[in-house]
């Protein structure tokens, strides 16, 4: 890739200069695409409702309506639930990545980008960065609404930030799977159905909102190996919140932080190149 961009100019400023210029160009392209997607959000703030209103709604619903009936050993439901609510909201919000990409492909805008001398993957990377930023906003809202309903942590600043970072990193890698879905869906609507068919079960069949100990055996096994469980348990561990999963023998529940990181890296390593392949395939005719 880099060599082909270097080839046309044999003489000149030397390879390091060219290379850093190429990198700077790519960074600029990604930043341009990121900003474009952020402007979109500012134009249609209702698009953001799944990361602004939904977290508040979920927090209130789960803590006040369902939480009372779910006993948490050694702690309160709000203390237990926050990590799960964070995971639930962020995981389901990746639907936005699928819908956004599908919308871009559906209109003619991608043709415009493809005829520009830009680094083409910036279309995908810019989208993922913009969605990461909205995820950060979502995390903030979850944290604030959690504090309002009684969530507390004694952990140090580093561990608290680490817990949020763990969930955000996982969300970021998941958004690349969402990108693959968006790139393969026929319409924005069908991309949206991905959320209900895949993301909601993924988020709910986990320890995010209830301890898995009460699930039927086979379902518990699924839940304990569900990456979302590792992510939620990892955040609980870092925040010093009640984490009933620690009593479960499955490896990810014994090492939730490591498991969450491994899942995230693994997903990213597979989904990102795959998304870039799908993008090329979808836009080649």
């Amino acid at each position: 890739m880099t060599t082909s961009t270097l080839r046309p100019s044999p003489a000149g400023t030397g390879i390091p200069g060219k290379l850093s210029a190429a990198v700077a160009g790519r960074v600029g392209n990604v930043w341009g695409m990121t900003r474009r997607n952020l402007v979109h959000i500012s134009r249609e703030p209702m698009q953001l409702s799944d990361v602004t209103l939904q977290p508040v709604l979920f927090t209130v619903l789960f803590v006040y309506i369902l939480g009372g009936g779910i006993p948490i050993p050694h702690g309160s439901y709000p203390d237990f639930a926050l990590a799960g609510l964070l995971a639930l909201n962020l995981v389901t919000s990746t639907m936005g990545t699928a819908v956004g990409l599908s919308t871009d492909l559906h209109g003619g805008i991608v043709d415009r980008f493809r005829a520009l001398p830009m680094w083409q993957p910036a279309v995908l990377v810019g989208r993922s960065f913009a969605d990461l930023m909205t995820s950060c906003l979502c995390a903030l809202i979850v944290a604030v609404s959690g504090l309002a309903v009684g969530w507390r942590t004694d952990a140090g600043a580093g561990a608290i930030i680490g817990g949020f970072a763990l969930v955000l990193f996982f969300t970021y890698s998941l958004s690349w799977i969402a990108a693959c879905v968006g790139l393969n869906s026929k319409s924005p609507e069908s991309a949206a159905s991905f959320g209900f068919i895949v993301l909601f079960p993924l988020a709910f069949i986990s320890n995010a909102l209830v301890p898995t100990q009460h699930m039927p055996g086979w379902l518990q096994a699924v839940a304990d190996w569900n990456p979302v469980s590792a992510v939620a348990a990892g955040a609980r561990q870092l925040w010093g919140n009640p984490n009933p999963s620690a009593a479960i023998h499955a490896w990810p529940m014994q090492h939730p932080v490591e498991a969450a990181l491994i899942w995230s890296v693994l997903i990213l390593a597979i989904a990102a190149p795959l998304a870039s392949y799908f993008f090329r395939r979808r836009t080649t005719e």
Partner: protein, 350 residues
């Protein structure tokens, strides 16, 4: 091919599933000139543009833009081109200015230069007042103008305009035409596709007519008009005396038609009131004199004789067999040949 050709297509072929969009298309555009790619809907114009702008890969053939192979070095080609595509490829949620700046930034122009250029183009296309409005509120004409402005952001030496004035009101159309003329005056090479013959006639230095994915004519507007030599002869007979029976008028018209029959290339069409005759003729020296003599010999009184040189419309219709949408005719039969057996489409019309 000499190097001063800025756009070259050689034997370009492209198939979409069962549809053969291009079946071996050749043309070349010298630097600083305008090529009009003319053809009915579905003829393959957009496919040709998509290949030349690196958006589609040809199944066969070669294409070069600014001397660079579009398949081998698409990224390099993109540095030399500006594209205004048919369906609005702008971002509906950004403002006009943001759209232009985005295009500039993604073309590595830098923020400051992009902003400056955007302001310049917005003024040039009279969009300054609307520049900070979201694109959704733009009219069709404003969008097209912004599309063109976006294509010009990087001052590309080669410009592709896919039906740039489709759906525009006459004033906006004129503005786009002026802009295109100014560009070529500054040395820019333009390929524009159009369904409007007057547009090709007004702008293009060279016209390529394609139909069913094949080039069926190629030349300057003048050459094309001359190539299709069929001028149109229209004769207005003198009004019959008051009270003349219809049958008398009809007989007179028939006599006149027979008189000029040997000079025309097809059947002579008689208008309903029996007063006007029209037919295709080959523009030969002394044609008008021959017509007058023939009519005089037959004793027919004539008010007016008109020999109309072919418009580009006539050429186009005779080349494409008079259809505007693909139909089941054999493709490209009789390239640049004379018109066939259907000369009478709208008899006495202009």
């Amino acid at each position: 091919m000499p190097n001063d050709m800025m756009i070259e297509a050689e034997e370009l072929a492209k198939r979409y599933g069962e549809t053969r969009a291009l079946a071996g298309v050749d043309f070349a555009v010298p630097g600083g000139s305008i090529l009009g790619l003319l053809g009915p809907n579905g003829a393959g114009k957009t496919t040709a543009v998509r290949i030349l702008t690196t958006l589609a890969l040809p199944d066969a053939g070669r294409a070069r833009v600014a001397g660079v192979d579009v398949v081998g070095h698409p990224a390099e080609v993109r540095r030399h081109i500006g594209v205004a595509a048919q369906d609005a490829t702008l971002d509906g949620l950004l403002s006009g200015r943001q759209n232009l700046v985005l295009v500039g930034e993604l073309s590595d122009m830098g923020r400051r230069a992009s902003r400056q250029r955007a302001t310049e183009l917005l003024a040039q296309f009279e969009l300054t007042d609307a520049s900070d409005r979201v694109l959704k509120g733009y009219s069709g004409g404003m969008r097209r103008r912004l599309d063109l402005a976006a294509a010009l952001m990087t001052r590309p030496p080669v410009l592709f305009l896919d039906e740039p004035t489709t759906g525009l009101d006459p004033v906006s159309r004129q503005r786009v035409w002026e802009a295109v003329r100014e560009l070529t005056a500054a040395g820019v090479t333009v390929l524009l596709t159009t369904q409007y013959l007057d547009e090709a006639d007004a702008l293009a230095d060279q016209i390529v007519v394609i139909d069913h994915g094949r080039v069926i004519a190629n030349g300057t507007p003048q050459e094309l008009k001359e190539a299709s030599r069929s001028a149109r002869l229209e004769v207005t007979l003198t009004a019959p005396y008051p009270g003349a029976v219809e049958a008398t008028v009809a007989v007179e018209a028939t006599v006149a038609a027979e008189a000029i029959g040997s000079l025309t290339t097809g059947p002579v069409h008689i208008s309903e009131d029996g007063r006007r005759l029209s037919a295709g003729v080959d523009s030969a020296p002394g044609l008008a004199t021959s017509v007058v003599r023939a009519l005089d010999a037959a004793g027919v009184l004539v008010d007016n004789i008109e020999i109309r040189q072919p418009s580009l419309d006539d050429v186009f219709f005779s080349l494409t067999g008079g259809h505007l949408a693909p139909e089941d005719d054999q493709p490209g039969s009789g390239a640049a040949g004379p018109e066939g057996a259907r000369p009478e489409m709208e008899g006495a019309g202009t």
